[in-house]
């Protein structure tokens, strides 16, 4: 039976990938690799390293499809979380850390670019930009530094000159608010 891959849900694609259907992996790649690449490139600041991360994420999807659990979220959030974790591991490695610190030395914490000033945000949909704009500025910056800068909450606290408990709390309330704001603008976040 012919499979219409473009009309197949992500969950069904994963079933096909588990059966080693290469075209299903190609379709999953077509749908999500661009976002994985964008996130990895933003974190790693290197197109080559970002492509490595994309390759690794999708090869892992092929080799270990059982690690994706549809009850725990969408395929998109799964591959992005995989790419984010991998990129952060790379960032926190010794060599990369030194490289990044050199780059960071040119800016003070107050000059750390935010999502709204970043090229990434320009390609976000209007609805997501609207949701981001609804966040408290301090919450938004803490989330940006952690998610797009690859920093731990302790590092974020140092960068922002604030107590770690405060930053931890801002991250939590900010993420809770972000979820609600996205729902308000019609982006589904279960």
């Amino acid at each position: 039976m012919d499979v219409d891959y473009q009309a197949t849900s992500d969950a069904s694609l994963m079933d096909l990938i588990a059966q080693k259907d290469e075209r299903a992996l190609a379709e999953a790649f077509r749908r999500h690799a661009g976002a994985v690449n964008a996130l990895s490139r933003r974190l790693l600041r290197s197109p080559n390293l970002a492509e490595e991360a994309v390759q690794e994420v999708f090869l892992r999807l092929w080799n270990s499809p059982e690690k994706f659990d549809p009850d725990r979220g969408s395929l998109r959030s799964f591959v992005l979380a995989q790419a984010h974790g991998r990129s952060v591991d790379l960032l926190r490695s010794e060599t990369a850390r030194r490289r990044r610190e050199d780059a960071d030395a040119y800016r003070t914490p107050n000059e750390v670019p935010g999502v709204e000033s970043d090229v990434l945000s320009r390609s976000l949909g209007e609805t997501v930009r609207t949701a981001l704009a609804g966040l408290d500025e301090r919450e938004r910056r803490a989330i940006e530094l952690a998610y797009f800068g690859g920093h731990t909450y302790l590092e974020v606290a140092i960068l922002l000159g604030e107590p770690e408990g405060t930053v931890k709390s801002r991250i939590r309330t900010g993420m809770q608010r972000l979820r609600l704001l996205l729902v308000d603008v019609g982006v589904d976040t279960p």
Binding site: E22, L25, A26, F29, R30, R31, H32, A33, G34, A35, N37, A38, L39, S46, N48, L49, E51, E52, A53, Q55, E56, F58, L59, W62, N63, S64, R72, G73, R76, S77, F78, L80, A81, H84, G85, L90, S93, T95, A96, L120, L124, V128, A131, L132, I143, A146, Y147, T152, Y153, L154, K168, I171, R172, L178, R179, L182, V187, D188, T189, P190
Partner: protein, 239 residues
């Protein structure tokens, strides 16, 4: 490790979604989340929200070509193209990237290497070519040894940068594992290639200033940064 209370886990779930926790916190949180349906749902919600912040863009076609090559039955393993990614230092404390180039590095530097590329003839042909390479003028040989000094493989490097891994004395790995070869340079550690789970012989393209080689066991398909154990290594002698 002391298990996290639900309240303590709840305080850090958003940070976990952002990968903004340290390794110990991550382990404790993941333990808790695996047992707590409510925290699992909260974490999923955060991850979905974050995924909305990442824009769509066209998928990189060159990456798909490499993936396709890696998963094709009998196809060539995909060679990562990005350059320097460090091995985690704790995995191989004994191996240092020596500053002085040895003969291998000298050969590599003289060649002026471009991007690496895998060449994938059948194994018998490659074995014959690799054997012949030993006798070529300017060929340099290195022995990869395990920690106890057992010879595990021979690497021959030619003046044009082509390298061959041969005489492999390695146990076959399960299908979800692979051997991966790394080049140690002064700038870091570079993947030289993914050898498969039961390699007989492989070729690779070396980069300049190689001061060592490391063979590791990794997840099938290979990784940009080593996560596995060091199986064998070779270090260029200091001058």
């Amino acid at each position: 490790m002391i298990p996290l209370s639900h309240e303590m886990a709840g305080d850090l779930l958003a940070a976990l979604a952002l990968d903004a926790v340290d390794a110990a916190e991550r382990t404790a949180l993941e333990d808790h989340v695996s047992m707590c349906r409510r925290c699992r749902a909260e974490l999923s919600g955060y991850l979905e929200a974050l995924s909305a912040l990442v824009p769509d863009e066209p998928a990189p076609p060159a990456v798909w070509e490499r993936i396709e090559a890696a998963i094709a039955p009998g196809g060539a393993p995909a060679r990562p193209t990005a350059p320097v990614v460090p091995l985690r230092p704790t995995r191989r404390p004994g191996l240092r990237a020596v500053a002085v180039a040895a003969c291998l590095a000298a050969v590599a530097a003289a060649a002026g290497f471009g991007a690496g590329r895998w060449w994938s003839p059948d194994a018998a042909t490659l074995e014959a070519v690799a054997d012949a390479a030993r006798a070529e003028t300017g060929a340099t040989a290195a022995t990869l040894q395990s920690a106890d000094g057992t010879r595990v493989a021979t690497v021959v490097l030619l003046a044009d940068g082509t390298g061959y891994v041969m005489d492999l004395a390695l146990p076959a790995l399960p299908p979800d594992r692979t051997y991966q070869l790394w080049e140690v340079t002064q700038g870091g550690v570079i993947s030289a290639g993914v050898l498969g789970n039961a390699p007989r012989v492989s070729s690779f393209q070396a980069v300049a200033n190689v001061t060592g080689l490391v063979l590791t066991e990794e997840v099938a398909g290979g990784v940009p940064q080593s996560e596995g154990v060091v199986v064998a290594s070779w270090e260029a002698p200091s001058l």
